[in-house]
Amino acid sequence: MKPTIGIEVHVELKTMAKAFSLSKNNFNDEVNTNINVLDLGYPGTLPRLNKGIIDFALKACLAFNCKINRLMHFDRKNYFYPDLPKGYQITQQDTPIGYDGYVEISNKKIYLERMHIEEDTCKSIHTTDTLLNFNRAGVPLIEIVTKPCINNGKEAMEYLEKLRETLLYLGISDVKIEEGSMRCDVNVSVSDSDKLGTKCEVKNIGSISSVGLAIDYEIKRQEELIKKGEKIVEQTRRFDDKTKTTILMRYKETGNDYRYFPEPDIPFVYIDDEWLKEISDNMPILTDELKNKYVELGINNNNIKTIISNKNICNFLESVIDKCNPVIASNLLTGDVLSYLNKNIIKIEDTKLSQDNFIKLVNKLDKKSISSKQGKEIISIILENDKDVDLIIKENNMEQISDDNFVIEIVNKVVSANPDSIKDFKEGKDRAVKYLMGQIMKESKGKINPSLANQTLIEVLKKS
């Protein structure tokens, strides 16, 4: 039996202003304050058009390889619901800004049917009554619809991760599923023939992993029904986080009658070559390109994964990567820096860490003029106060001695003072080297470059 899955994703764009009204696009502010007469659907009001939403949507179109409807208009989707102030939603039915795109995941391309711009509804809070917060009314959304080309939960999850990651790197959305700035609906059907089966929709799933679970559950549920010879009825279901199952919400009415027609209040928008070029010239580097670059620079896979999934860390790395050793930089960022951030629940911008000081530190480590242990001490200091790295080293007397003559002098001194150890070394006893290194560190008051000393010691011992 063959499952077929299509996914619809709504993503809130983080423009300054709303889509078709220029009130503030932030519904988390104080209730019913980011609104104007348009958001309330007052008599006589007409839509505005925020260019920012088109710019943002174009970025997404380019990132997802969509063709672009150069001459586009908007449409009205008519239905009554208390969260819809005008009694219609401004959307794009005839001319979605993007179409025929794809997103690459590890083993295949996920094809996109369309991507269009629309406006969000009020936020409803259900108590004994339903309370309406109009701050969200008119917030810009893009809806991204795949073709029915996904085969299982794993592919769906991979697609959504990639989508989320890319939108995040485009800087056009917060893409937080838990806060509703990314919302996923999936359509699942199973068929035992060449024809597509009857689809069931699972709406508003709360996380990417739940999408995977919901899909796999739906496939199993529908397969079992078909095996039993039962007919699948088109319906809308929801995912239950506790039981990890999907639950029937309602059977689909005989087609929704949204009475779409072109929005007469917003003139055509024509996206010319110049506009498109401006967008493509200003596209940020996206994750695939970053990953390839990091592999070439020799950063290990675990670090790459960590960096990509932490966009702020990645941005920081990008800002220093040409000026210092990328491997050392990535180790510091994914290690000490990230654990410091996680422990304090802050972002890298919230710390005192400056690029210049960080580069200095990496260069010191790179030249081995300080030990990695000292590096850890220093990073913990400069995360807190951005004190100059040179000054920290000087004040704490941390400078390592890498001067060859001095190193040889100390090593010779220690070796000649411990003739027994030479014997042990010749007999192949490891502890001899460890012991001698300890004595060398002690003699140099810990300031000697350990790897250089180690290297020198072994040469001296071999010659002895």
Binding site: T15, M16, A17, L22, S23, K24, E30, V31, N32, T33, N34, I35, N36, V37, L40, R48, L49, N50, K51, G52, I53, I54, D55, H73, N78, F80, Y81, P82, S124, I125, H126, T127, T128, D129, T130, L131, L132, N133, F134, M249, D257, R259, P262, E263, P264, I266, P267, F268, V269, Y270
Partner: protein, 94 residues
């Protein structure tokens, strides 16, 4: 003649009540209108261009900047059912 069922569906879409007395009148009127507008289907035209509005404007947009808001009291001024800072409606059950 347009069916009663159809008229009910339309009334439901438009959120209007159609009483049993009004039903036959609506059936008749919608049927008449349909006959009238059927005339345009018979016109043979060459162009495929749609005219959404007489306006020739294009690319009428604003830059992404926030303009003024209304006060909370203005927002709630004409609403008939208000609780705290919210406009309310009877509970909508999903």
């Amino acid at each position: 003649m347009i069916s009663e069922e159809k008229v009910k569906h339309i009334a439901d879409l438009a959120k209007l009540n159609v009483t049993s007395e009004e039903m036959s009148k609506y059936q008749q009127q919608l049927t008449d209108i349909l006959t009238e507008i059927d005339k345009i289907l018979k016109v043979d035209i060459k162009n495929e261009e749609i005219m959404i509005s007489p306006s020739n404007n294009r690319n009428c947009y604003s830059e992404d900047v926030i303009e003024s808001h209304i006060s909370k009291s203005d927002a709630l001024k004409n609403a008939k059912r208000v609780k705290g800072d919210y406009i309310i409606v009877p509970k909508v059950i999903e």
